[in-house]
Symmetry: C2
Subunit: 456 residues, 2 copies
């Protein structure tokens, strides 16, 4: 009996390991470096490369480039993949690419410049190169780019025994597969059988009698975010991909869908915060500026609208200078309320829980919630304002402006993304900027307008 | 040969279907309703129930409650699950629960009140009840709650043929399984074999000779977010769960990990926006107020800090009233920059791309990016301000305050979540509130302070 080995997660990446690796690089100890990298999973080597500085990265690649195989390259963040490929010997890159399934090669090629693309395509076998070039023929971010071409199929009439014998004789099977897909003589999928079901059925059982109920297919042109939604909604584990006419062209597995879902979440979160796509800790200063400055400039102009509104009330402000100090409270609290409403709406649109079937009810709820929040905040702020400034009218004006702005915020937070969705744009593109501009402008307008009317 | 049927996605939920269902409910046509629901996947029925109004939901459940099986209940959003279970006959709920795997029953029970929990536990078979009660003995949101107890195992010494014969004879197999787990005589997992590998190997091959390299186990007490990270990082499809001492107690599959990942993303996004956990379009007005009002009240107080700062400069404002109009521009643009930096940092912490190994470099990058963004914005705002107000000093003050505040924003956006992480708190708890308070206060302080110094 084998001695029991503790199966603790010993192979993750931590600061100690990063330090050991960097020490080996600095000491120029290629043997030690190779040993250390051999203990790490490809995904952790990729994370390591992302976390160290550009100079450390270059030194590591020169000393230990042999550890960078295809899997590491496919795990790498796009932001540094080109740089890493550049630093590796061409032969090593070619070898790394030949190990990978076609979907991973496509994923890497998509983001590279033309010279690197050509170099890699030349390195592939004819069959692989054709598969990759065909995949690149599908639209960007479509099911056709995501799928692997390697499929496991069976004619409709086979039995479990015939399928098992075929699999045992097969020379090349995909790394991961979870179903045997039944196809008709024209290569059109008609159903699939899970491997678990096959293994637990007798040899004489016909595959068509143990098909899964949940069978569905995906068109090669389907956008990848719809693919991710289908996998998440229906708990798919793998799904056949068909081209026009229904012919089977590949299969998408859940790990691909999971990584698309993860990317979509990242995109939503960053767009909502007004950051350009694909921000990563390994980005340099200039990349970071390029991702953020555009929205900041937009905000500079939208914020000027607030200044314009305020400047209309300079006479009132000159009369009661205390107004200048408290006016940002109404705007700022409105900004938070708008962001809350916006985040809930963007998330619900992404998960398709907010649809035209319930949009009207959600909008009504937002208005009611804004009203109740506004009244609660107005009571606190109104009493505190009246008392601190010894002016009951200041409290009344603060409270009334607060109620108005909370309703505007709740409403804006849901209507802006709903409108963007209806116009076929990404609701997260709304970004905080639009909604906070709205609540800033309304906050100043309501507060200073009411103050002018009631206090001067 | 079977005629080819187009496999278009005909069974999703759309407005047309929702309308058809609601019409059938209104007409009291139980037969038509049952037909319509039978065409929908359980996940779509759950979405339908979430999207309609509470009254429509009650009417639907009374007329068509028979369609609400265990799978629908497990797909339902927590926010309405209790209400739905309340509306169904007890016998129907009991029957629905008996269909489910133990992990799904646990998932449903966790969020229910005690009377409903007891009712459901009583309805289960003895074996299932014990399994569920054991699972509930593990900490909330741990691997032990997430796993299914149903496992497919084999002694270490079996061959492929022996394992297949065993599976064919097994009376009850899990709905989904992707590996056969090899265990030693004390039920401790020592490796696993993928079903694909088993199917493609000869009967005489020993399982221990075709083990996966990537084998790892998860402790039952591991937090579910760490489980989700492991699945995502190492592309796991299923993973054995062990208790203290190494004994196998269950298995977690990728669909569970995917739904945890999805929940974590939702939590990050909503927390960042200052919304309490679990917001959903089906929440009522009061639930919505309860989720949002606490952060709004916090913001009311933090925003008062800005008011306090501004009130210190009333003399300056009284002298140059134009300052009141332009001062929010500096604060507002700082707020956006802080949110950008914050979103990138929170996301990178969640994916573990931001660690102590690269924190110092990321902080340096944020400062540099803040400086460059600040200079760019200062040039635009400074020139525009000088020209519009005919006062070069106003432009200089605006520009200088902008540079200071952009650096503060970029720095605050990364340091606040990093500090929370170091103190063992969720970095997303920072929410926009803290960072925007910081940028508001600094914006007013820098602008009015410089204006007082240089312009009066």
């Amino acid at each position: 009996m084998a001695a029991f080995e503790p199966v603790e997660d010993e192979d993750g990446l931590d600061v100690r390991r990063v330090t050991l690796v960097l020490d080996a690089v600095e000491a120029g100890d290629a043997g030690l470096l190779a040993d250390l990298l051999a203990q790490l999973h490809a995904a952790d080597i990729a994370d390591l490369l992302e976390q160290i500085s550009p100079n450390e990265r270059l030194a590591l690649l020169h000393l230990g480039g042999a550890a960078i195989d295809g899997e590491v390259l496919s795990e790498l963040d796009e932001s540094i993949r080109e740089e890493v490929i550049e630093a590796l010997p061409r032969a090593a890159v070619a070898e790394a690419m030949r190990e990978l399934d076609s979907d991973d090669v496509v994923d890497i090629l998509e983001d590279l410049g033309t010279p690197q693309q050509d170099m890699i395509l030349e390195a592939l076998d004819d069959a692989d190169r054709i598969a990759v070039e065909q995949a690149l023929g599908f639209p960007e971010a479509s099911a056709g780019r995501l799928m692997q071409r390697e499929v496991v199929v069976s004619p409709e009439h086979w039995t479990v025994g015939e399928a098992i014998d075929h699999l045992r004789g097969a020379r090349h099977l995909p790394d991961q597969f979870y179903h045997v897909i039944l196809i008709d003589p024209r290569m059109r999928p008609v159903g699939y059988v899970t491997l678990g079901r096959m293994l637990s059925s007798g040899r004489e059982v016909r595959l068509r009698d143990i098909l899964e109920d949940s069978f569905r297919t995906i068109e090669a042109t389907m956008p990848e975010e719809d693919v991710a939604y289908l996998f998440n909604q229906y708990h798919l584990i793998s799904c056949p991909v068909i081209e026009e006419g229904g012919r089977l062209v590949g299969v998408i597995t859940i790990d691909d869908a999971m990584s698309v879902l993860d990317d979509e979440h990242e995109e939503d979160m960053l767009r909502l915060a007004g950051v350009g796509d694909g921000a990563s800790p390994s980005d340099g200063v200039f990349t970071t500026v390029r991702q953020r400055l555009p929205w900041l400039v937009v905000n500079l102009f939208t914020a000027s609208l607030s200044a314009l509104v305020i400047s209309q009330f300079e006479a009132t402000l000159a009369l009661i200078i205390a107004l200048a100090a408290v006016m940002p409270i109404v705007s700022s609290t409105g900004g938070i309320a708008g962001t809350q409403s916006l985040a809930v709406a963007v998330r619900a649109l992404a998960t398709r829980d907010l649809t035209s079937a319930n949009a009207a009810r959600v909008v009504r709820r937002e208005v009611m919630a804004g009203l109740l929040n506004g009244i609660s905040l107005a009571l606190i702020l109104g009493v505190a304002g009246s008392w601190l400034y010894g002016d009951i009218w200041l409290g009344v004006v603060l409270g009334m402006a607060m109620v108005v702005n909370q309703i505007v915020a709740a409403l804006g937070g849901v209507l802006v993304p709903l409108s963007l969705e209806r116009w076929g744009l990404d609701p997260a593109l709304a970004s905080g900027t639009f909604v906070t501009t709205l609540t800033d402008v309304m906050g100043y307008l309501a507060f200073l307008g009411l103050a002018t009317w009631l206090m001067t």
